[in-house]
Chain length 367, copies 2
Amino acid sequence: MTHSDRILMGPGPCNPYPEVIEAFSRPVLGHLDPEFIPLLDETGQRLRQAFSTTNPLTFPVSGTGSAGMEAAFVNFIEPGDTVVVGVNGVFGGRMCDVAARSGAEVVRVDAPWGTAIDPEQLLDAHPDPKIIAVVHAETSTGVRNDIAQLGAAKGDALLLIDCVTSLGGIPVELDEWNVDIAYSGTQKCLGVPPGLAPLSVSATGVERIVERPQSWYLDLNMIAKYVTGGSARAYHHTAPISMIYALHAGLGVLLDEGLEASFDRHRSAGEALQRGLVDMGFELFAQEGHRLPELTTVVVPADRLPSGLDEAGVRRRLLDDYGIEIGGGLGEFAGKVWRIGLMGHTARQRNVTLLLGALTEIMATPA
Amino acid sequence: MTHSDRILMGPGPCNPYPEVIEAFSRPVLGHLDPEFIPLLDETGQRLRQAFSTTNPLTFPVSGTGSAGMEAAFVNFIEPGDTVVVGVNGVFGGRMCDVAARSGAEVVRVDAPWGTAIDPEQLLDAHPDPKIIAVVHAETSTGVRNDIAQLGAAKGDALLLIDCVTSLGGIPVELDEWNVDIAYSGTQKCLGVPPGLAPLSVSATGVERIVERPQSWYLDLNMIAKYVTGGSARAYHHTAPISMIYALHAGLGVLLDEGLEASFDRHRSAGEALQRGLVDMGFELFAQEGHRLPELTTVVVPADRLPSGLDEAGVRRRLLDDYGIEIGGGLGEFAGKVWRIGLMGHTARQRNVTLLLGALTEIMATPA
């Protein structure tokens, strides 16, 4: 089997930091080993820094980002609870599905894909929801939704946000924004392969964890006894040891660089890409002022594609001739947009230069 | 932070095969990359060989063994369904909890910890259960439960088995035993770090997957479109790429050695350990004839411990002075038994020799 070395400029995974891959080679320790517990604790501490929070219950869920989403809903919903969900892309839609399966009455607030959700509409959608949920960075559209206003005016509701594509790439301020429940994924701006879902729950959130969530695997009552158990750690499930090494190392790279420096790097790379695409005559898809630097969506120039190449053909040529992965559109935008990620280790000017050069060459292919 | 190189002789994780750690260094590919899909497919094919099945729906769940357990129940239960569960240890008890949270009426068949469950009792427990569930290799007690007789007489019920500690270490014959749903973990006899849960579902099982399981993350209807989707793979959640490399490599080591050879190696190591412990005057905990070679439980010789050392002290000395991890007891057997694993890469005579030598030295410590 061939196994190529790609430049991962899709919507995730990104290329991992070299230090992350090195961490995989560390000897496996048991999940109760006195040397593993401090490493797990330090991972939690590093996540707190990344999330800008002091929440004690901050740890990596043992699954990919969608497991984080499920943990974020299933632990807080009892049948019939009202959950307001903002939907302006695939992941907002997924939230509705996950919340409904947990027994929630979902009040859905839609905004057109490519635009941001108006916080006022979310706040006005229901007089007394248990949860208001929204995606911070919509991976399907490249749009950033505003969070701070929600936290300031949420009243008694819990504020739940999806930070899968934002954490490490743009500011995430859980405490300042008054967020109660947040989850992320490792394979985006943290520069780690997929496999874990960082989760953080505020003190108010912890008080409202239901007694017996329908998921055993994601039950925060039990998991908390392991991840925040002090000197007495109660075994719940076997932690994914090597993935935790990888996350620990990725967070180390992020914090050594500094959060602000990482945001700057993502911003300058994203802006350079977006400028370059516009200069090439492409149309950006996401609403100006709410564009994510780490994930750029661009309208496929259907009438300018080289003869014989459809949009998938362009992506395939990037992959085959240049070893570059970019993503296609999702849902109704399949075939209509490209999604170009600059996340984690991938968020560098050299990758912008490379992609713009490769796209220019492909677009100039003679018919 | 110190990070030692342990000999992992607890109940899991085991030491990974060196080839597995090498696999972690492979470049990350996207989950829809045309080079990743064949690797995922081959992982499924290798799992079929390990499980001795032709079940098309055979793949690694994106979570640790307990996520496999949850997937095994949550996809097949509708509220009020009857599930018969055999319980002779922690993991049978966990099955009851998981099944009940999925809405099942659980009929529990208990056997004393350390003994095997009588298949007749499971078959007689209810006239028409939807599922009969039992743990093949109880990690908490070191006992093997018989499966074949259940498959032969299960009638219309689905037979669900936990193979977390059996797969790769002792024969697992899904097709021959007429098993419908089986799950495992990577960190036991497969010689891979924890993080994935191999799962296999029979054709009959696939027909009975409920339309909308309460878990979105573990919904087999949607996951099947990704893992067995032929040329059109529908994205569900981002697969844990690097962990799949690791599993793929571990299964490669297992199949290169040969299943029978692996079983022989586990058997001879386990028998040597058990013989050695008896020769030292220790009492084995698990019922003779149902002892797992890969996980030995031994009664802590409370009256023969060196002065000043309790059972945890002995384990701590093994860890600190020899770098060897063994496990303590669970539940009511906490402090009363040790659990010694010889799984995957760890299942070798040299580790038996080492542990017996270390235990002999510790037990001879002057008061």
